[in-house]
């Protein structure tokens, strides 16, 4: 770290502007006045080298934070944070979602599809699954939606997607896989026929979740468009354009 730093100036005087590393130390220490602090904070966002200096000072002073005694905040604080984030209440006690009939129907349909997909991707010669898994139970037509398989290059399913065009959402179910060794995250894209990909945000590798599709991309949720997943840097999601490799894709079935 130190090896990459430019040579230090001499003794820092009070009148001269401090060099970058001292300025970063002053920012972390908290001695800058409001205006200087805002300027230095903006630099820490925009300037990678300065940001690295700030991180180094934070690491140097971190032991002082470790010695601060914990103190319990009010029990009202968690609900206040939830409200601030626009959540009705705590996730664990949200009755709407978990008692929703539509969700359970959708989950049952998807569980059947996952079982089928896993069965189809079984190695040749594997024992036959019990009959119950091979014959998905009938699903009520009101809740039945076509499932798009986002397959890896070798044809094995990576994710399953079920589109709700009415609400403009996509339920995404991963076939659990290993995280990327380089720390990249899977990002979902909708690619309308003949058009550029548009990001629908990051998706999980081991949890099903619903992705809200931006209003201007909902018209693309039709047969003929492609859903694709690329590996992207964790920061900056949703990205304007994909930069990483496509690891799974599938044409939308409706």
């Amino acid at each position: 770290m130190n090896a990459s730093l430019p040579p230090q100036h001499g003794e820092p005087g009070a009148g001269d502007p401090p060099d970058d590393d001292v300025l970063a130390g002053e920012l972390v220490l908290g001695v800058l006045g409001p205006e200087e602090r805002r300027r230095a904070q903006a630099r820490a966002v925009a300037d990678r080298e300065f940001s690295a200096r700030v991180a180094s000072w934070e690491r140097r002073f971190a032991p002082w934070l470790a010695e601060v005694a914990p103190l319990a905040p009010s029990v009202q604080l968690w609900p206040q944070i939830c409200r601030r984030l626009g959540w009705e209440s705590t996730p664990g006690r949200r009755p709407g979602l978990w008692q929703s009939l539509a969700l359970w129907r959708g989950a049952a349909a998807l569980a059947a599809v996952v079982a089928l997909a896993l069965w189809l991707s079984r190695p040749p010669g594997a024992p036959q699954p019990p009959a119950v898994a091979a014959v998905p139970p009938p699903v009520e037509s009101a809740a039945a939606r076509a499932v798009t398989t986002l397959a890896h290059d070798d044809g094995s399913p990576g994710w399953l997607a079920s589109i709700d065009p009415v609400h403009g959402t996509v339920l995404v179910v991963p076939v659990p896989g290993a995280p990327d060794a380089n720390g990249r995250v899977p990002e979902l894209w909708i690619i309308p026929a003949g058009k550029a990909p548009r990001s629908l945000g990051a998706v999980s590798i081991d949890k099903s979740h619903t992705v809200a599709v931006p209003a201007d991309s909902r018209s693309a949720l039709v047969a003929g468009s492609v859903l694709a997943i690329t590996l992207e840097p964790a920061s900056g999601v949703p990205h304007a354009a994909p930069s990483g490799p496509i690891i799974a894709k599938g044409a939308i079935q409706t």
Binding site: M1, N2, Q8, E11, P12, G13, A14, G15, P18, D21, V22, G25, E26, V28, L29, G30, V31, L32, G33, P34, R37, A55, E58, R59, R60, F61, A62, P63, W64, L65, A66, E67, V68, A69, P70, L71, A72, P73, S74, L77, W78, Q80, I81, R84, L85, T90, P91, G92, R94, W98, V185, A202, S204, K207, S208, H209, A234, S235, G236, V237
Partner: protein
């Protein structure tokens, strides 16, 4: 996404693992992270702001920020607790700067030398090696620089405020602290 089984499995997760889940929008991981770290982060906010109600406002901002920016956490740069702790301290200082009645809180008396018996043995053990080095390097500073830097860190004082409190010229305060920072850096990373 928030069934009891997931809750139980997340309860044993490291803050680093929880932050990775929060970055993917996992609210259960976010709640688990809150319950595991709020006391520590609230302690830091109170230490800087000197009172609870402002510190609770700051802590709300911290967790709203964590929800939005978890993807920016870089485990190669800092531990999750350092990242969260520094974010808490930064939000607390931002809040302190925005307060109209700065003097009324008088955090120096609160912050100066309150003993800290509360850090868990595990946290203390984790922080011990680095904490020892920081303490050792601070010992090398002349007492005036040492106490100014410590006051600045825990009290969130600006140069101007430190000068007023110490009844010393602003230029001298800046010079002492800047030299102290350079000495500290040289000692911590020779």
């Amino acid at each position: 996404m928030s069934d009891p089984n997931e809750r139980a499995s997340l309860a044993d997760s490291s803050p680093e693992a929880l932050l990775a889940q929060v970055a993917l929008g996992n609210r259960t991981a976010f709640e688990t992270l809150y319950h595991g770290t709020a006391d520590k982060l609230f302690g830091i906010c109170v230490r800087v702001l000197g009172e609870r109600s402002e510190a609770e406002e700051a802590l709300q901002e911290v967790f709203a920020n964590v929800w939005r920016k978890a993807a920016q956490f870089d485990p190669s740069r800092a531990s999750a607790m350092s990242w969260l702790g520094m974010m808490a301290r930064n939000k607390a200082i931002d809040r302190l700067r925005a307060l109209p009645m700065r003097g009324a809180l008088s955090p120096l008396e609160f912050a100066a030398d309150v003993p800290d018996p509360g850090a868990s043995p595990l946290q203390q053990a984790d922080a011990l090696a680095e904490g020892d080095r920081l303490a050792h390097c601070l010992e090398q500073l002349e007492p005036k620089r040492r106490s100014l830097i410590r006051e600045a860190f825990f009290g969130g004082f600006t140069y101007e405020e430190l000068a007023a409190r110490a009844q010393a010229p602003l230029g001298s305060i800046k010079s002492w602290i800047r030299r102290g920072l350079l000495q500290l850096r040289a000692c911590l990373e020779p």
